[in-house]
Amino acid sequence: MIYDAHKYGFGCIYWITVSGVPVVWIERVTGKALPAGYTTEDASLVIDDSAEVGIEQIDRDRGTAVSLSFGFKLLDTAEARDWMRRWSDQATLTTTLTVGGAVATVDSTTGWPGAGAFYAGLERITYTGTTATTFTGCTRGTAGSLAYEHKPGTTAQIITDRPRFWRGREVVLWATPVDASGYVAGSNLTDDAVQVWRGRIEAGPDRDVDGFVFQAQSLDRVLDQPLATQVTGTVADTSVKYAAKPGTQITVSIEAYDAAGVQQWAYVLEMLPFAAYTAGDMLSADAMRELIIAAWDNAVTAAGANANLSSMRFYKDKTIYTTQVKYLADAAINKIAQFVQINGTDVTSLKDPILSGTLTEIWIDLWKSAGDPSVPWSVAEPAGLNSLTVHVDEGDPADVPTTGMVWLGGNGVKYSFVYQYAATDGFELYLGGVIQGGYGTAPKLTPAQAVGMTATVQLVTAGSFPTLMLTTLENSGTGQRGTYDTGPRGKGYGIDDSAIDEDSFLSAAAPLGSMTGTLIADGSSFSERLGGALGLFRMAVACRPDTSATYRALKLTLVHTSPFGAGWTTTIVDADLLSHEGDPVVSVRRADSANTVKVLRKVGDSEDVLTATDRDQVDAVGSREATYMVPADDRETLFAAALPAIASHFASDQTAQAVEVRVPPWVLAEVGDIVEFVTTHPAVWTWNTSPGQVGYDGPARVVGKRMNLKTSQVTLTLLIGGGVKVRALSPAAEVQAFDVAAAPTRIDVPLKYLSHFAQSITEAGGPVKVLHYYRIGPESDIEGYTISAAAENAGLCRLTVSAITGAPVLSLASESYLTLPTVGGGDLTAYQATFAHIDDGTQWG
C-alpha cells in the first residue's frame, strides 16, 4: 500500500482521468507510460483547493452514503484549452447508431479527418475511415467512456470532434507514489497507483483566473438520483389493433361463364391494401377493412372492370366478417368462378352456378378459417375493454416490456390491468390482451370510460434483493454493463460492473440476501426503492476501495452499518491518532434513534404495515418514528425477519455512538469495516466495563472515511458501543497568584476553572487532591495540594489549600499548573474520572 511508504518520506502525485478524454491530467509530468487509451499527460491538475473527499457518514436509515464532492482545477495550459474549446467538426446522425454499431451514418463527413474520434453524448468513438456520409471502423466506448445507443431525432444525434459537455462524465482520481526526492517508481504511471476517488462531474468547466474549475459528485451520490423510467400517456383508443404487414398481397381472380360454359369476362385483381404503412404500424380491424375496400376499388378500376364489378363491402356474421361484391346483373351469366390468394397462398376457390340472372352479388372469402390472426380483418371487435392505444407523453415507448402491468387513472381511483402484448408506433403505444384485475375494488372500466384516461405503464423487476439492487445499478438498455444489465434503458443507472463489487451484494446474508421482492419503476431513486430494506437490515451501499482489486479500485459495495460484528481488519490505537491540528477524537451528534419502527411492505397496490414500538422509550420521550418501505414479495417472510431486526435497532441504537477519529492514511480501515479501537482518549468512555472509565477498547464500525488530499490526513467516523462525552480534558489551570511559593495556603487560578474544582469538592464530599506541574513538565502524583474550598475572588478562582503532598514549589516564571484529577489515593471522584488523565500520569495535549 502506497500510504505505508508515507512514513518513510513518500508522498503521492495525483492525477485524474475523465471518461472519453484521452488525456491524463496530472500535477506534474512524469514521463511514465500512460494507461492504455491515453495519449498524453498534461501537468495542469490542481487538487489542493478541494475539500476533503470520501464518505462523511453513512445514512444508516436510507442505506446510502453521504459522500463529499471533489473539486479540481485544470490550469490554463494549451492542452486544457484545446479540450475546453468549442468543437470544430460537427455532423448529425441520420440513422440509429446501435450500441455495437461499427458504422455511423451521418448527414455529411465533409471537413472531418479521414480517421480519428468523435463524440456522441458521453461516448467517445474512434473511427478508421469515412465515406461521404459514414464513419467506418468505429470502436465504441473508448478512453474510459461507455458505449450506448444514439438515435436520430434526439440531442444524441449531434456528433462533434470535442466533448459537447462535461457534466456526467466519470472522473477517477488516482494517486501514484513519489519518493522524497520526487522520483516516481516504476515504468508505468499505474505501477503502485491506487484509486482515491470516483464520481461524475456535476458542474464545470467554470472559468477561473488561471484555469477551468470542476465539481464532481461521488459515485454513490448517483443512487439518490431519480430514475426516469415511467412511461405515461393518454388513452386515445380502445380498439383491438394489429401490426400492419405492408407486403400483404391479395389476389382475386373472377371469371364469368354463360350457360354453355363460355367465358364472358375475367379479371385478375391485385391488391396491396397496406402498402402505404410500415411494418409495425398498428391498425384496427375496421381500418384494415376500409383499406381493403379502397384497394379493391383501385384494382377494379385498374383492371377496367367497372362495367362488370362494383364495390366491395364487409358483412358481419356474428364474430366473422365476410366480403360481398356486386357484379352488374346480366342474364347471360350463368356461373361465376373466383379464386383468392393471399401472399400467393390459395385461400378460396369456388365456382358458383347462378341459377337465375337476378343474383347480383358474389361472396369472396378473404380468410381461410375463423379467427385466423393472419387475416385480422375477418375478426369482429370483441366486447369489453381489450386493448389500449396510448399516446405517450413521458418516457420512451420502446422501454415498455412486451407483457406487464398498466395503471389507468390519476391520483384518485386507479385501475390496474395486465397486458399480454405491446407494440409501439412512434410515440404511440399499443397494449393488447389487457385484463382488468388485480387489486382493489374498482369497478370494471368500459372502453368509453377508458378513453382520455392517463395510462402509466409499470416497469416491473422481480428477483432477490441482491439481484434487484444490481439490476438497478447496472441496467442501461445496452446489455453491456454487466450480468445484470438486462432491462431497458432508464430502468437503472447504467453503471459498469467494473465499478460495482457484485460479490458484496451476492454474498449478502439472509434475510436480505434470500428475500425476494418486486420493483415497480415509478421515477423514484435507488434509495427510495431499496433504501428501506437496506436501512431495516442495517446495510448500505457505499463507494469504497475493493482492497483485492487492481489499483484498489473504488466500487459500489454493499456494507454493514451495525456497530457490532465479528473480526476486525485493523486496530486503531492512540499512536495512530493525528493530533497536530487539534483534538483527534471528537464526538458526532447522531440523529435521535427511533422508538417506533414501521415496516411498510409495498408492491404495486399491495400494502402491509408492521409497527413495533419500544414502549418504555415512547413513554419517556414521546414517539420518534422511522418507516422502512420494503418491496418484498412475501409478507410473512418480511415480517418474520423484520422483528429481530427492529429489536436490534432498539437495543443497540440507544447506546451506539459516533466519533470522528483523525488518523494517517496508512490505517487500513474502509467504510463498512469493523476495526478494533483502543484509545485512552477522554472523548469516549467505555460503557460496558467499569462505569465511567475513560477511553474505549472494543469493536467499532467504520461508517465514514474522508481524506484531506493535500495532507493525506484521514478522518474516520466510527460507530461504537460506548458512550460519548463532549470534550472533557482535565482542567489544567495556570496558576495566577499565591501567597507562599513553597507552602501556600491559597492559590489563584482563572475563574473559568471554578466550576470544575467546586464540582469535584462537592462530589467528593470534602477536600480533593490536585496535581502540580510545570508547563511541558512531567506529571505525577508526587507533588500536589489538597484543596478544601474553591470560590471566586477578585475575578479569579481562589483555592484554599488544606494539605501539601511532596514538596511542590509554585512558580509563575516556570508556569505552574494545577490539574485534576489525582491518580490513586482513593479520592478519585466520578467527576474527576471523566477527565483526560490516565493512570500513567500522562496528559492529553
Binding site: K7, G9, D179, A180, A575, L578, H580, K710, S712, Q713
Partner: protein, 233 residues
C-alpha cells in the same frame, strides 16, 4: 541518515516501490544472472546495506561480498573479498540513494560510488532541543508540500537544527534525509538514543515538519535546516 522504504520479497526485480530499496549484482562469470537484494521491511540506511549483502549471500553467488558505507569518504563501497569480478546494478532511483551515479559498465572486484549517497547527509553539527509535548509543536512549515505533514499521537517532538556545509545542500534538498523516518546523530560514535539523561544521543523519529536550507553568515559554506522530529513516547 534515512530509512529506506521496503516491502515485498527480498529477491527478484519486482516489489512494491522498489526504487531505492534494491541493489543488484551481476558477476562476470554469469553475466546472464542478476542477483537482487532488498530488506523485506524498512531499514535504516546502514542496516539496509547489511541486509542486501545478506540477501545476496543467501543466493550463493560466486562472490563473497561486502557492502559498506565509508563514513569518512561518504561513499558506498561494494566489493568482493574473494576477487570475484562483478558489477553492481542500481534499481529505480538506487543510483542516487546509494550514490552510484556513474555509468556502471565493465567488471571489477570493487566498486565505489561516484557520489555521496543521498540517504545520508554529513552534518557539521546539530542541536536537539528537549522533547516537547506534541500539542506545543507548531507545524507551520511543510517540506515538499504534502510529503512531510503527517504527525500522530503518543509522540513527542524535538526541534532539531542541522548545520552542514554547502557541498551537502544537494543531499539535504534531495529529501531523503529530511522527510519520513530518519536518524540524526549528534555524535556518530554515540550508539544510544537521546534521552533526558543522555542528551547527546541520536534522535530516531519521523520528520513531521522541515524548513528549507538557510545560509548562516555570508561565506556560502555554512547552512542550517530546521526540522521537527517526532519520536514515539
Amino acid at each position: 541518515m534515512a530509512y529506506c522504504y521496503s516491502e515485498g520479497p527480498s529477491t527478484g526485480s519486482t516489489a512494491a516501490l522498489p526504487h531505492n530499496s534494491t541493489m543488484a549484482v551481476i558477476e562476470q562469470a554469469t553475466p546472464g544472472t542478476t542477483t537482487y537484494g532488498r530488506p523485506t521491511t524498512p531499514k535504516l540506511f546502514t542496516a539496509q546495506l547489511a541486509d542486501i549483502q545478506a540477501v545476496w549471500d543467501a543466493q550463493t553467488p560466486a562472490g563473497l561480498y561486502s557492502i559498506t558505507w565509508d563514513s569518512a569518504a561518504n561513499r558506498v563501497v561494494v566489493a568482493t573479498t574473494n576477487a570475484t569480478n562483478h558489477r553492481p546494478e542500481m534499481v529505480g532511483n538506487g543510483e542516487n540513494w546509494f550514490g552510484f551515479t556513474q555509468a556502471l559498465a565493465g567488471w571489477n572486484t570493487s566498486w565505489t560510488g561516484a557520489s555521496a549517497p543521498q540517504a545520508v547527509a554529513r552534518l557539521l553539527g546539530v542541536t536537539v532541543e528537549p522533547a516537547e509535548d506534541w500539542a506545543q509543536v507548531d507545524f507551520a512549515e511543510y517540506r515538499h508540500g504534502r510529503i512531510a505533514s503527517i504527525g500522530w499521537g503518543n509522540h513527542q517532538a524535538h526541534q532539531v537544527i542541522a548545520y552542514f556545509s554547502g557541498e551537502n545542500i544537494a543531499t539535504m534538498q534531495a529529501g531523503y534525509v529530511t522527510a519520513g523516518r530518519v536518524r540524526i546523530h549528534q555524535d556518530e560514535t554515540d550508539v544510544l538514543p537521546y534521552a533526558a539523561a543522555h542528551p547527546g544521543g541520536y534522535v530516531d523519529g519521523w520528520v513531521v515538519a522541515a524548513g528549507d536550507p538557510t545560509e548562516e553568515g555570508d561565506t556560502g559554506d555554512l547552512w542550517s535546516l530546521r526540522m521537527v522530529v517526532a519520536v514515539p513516547r
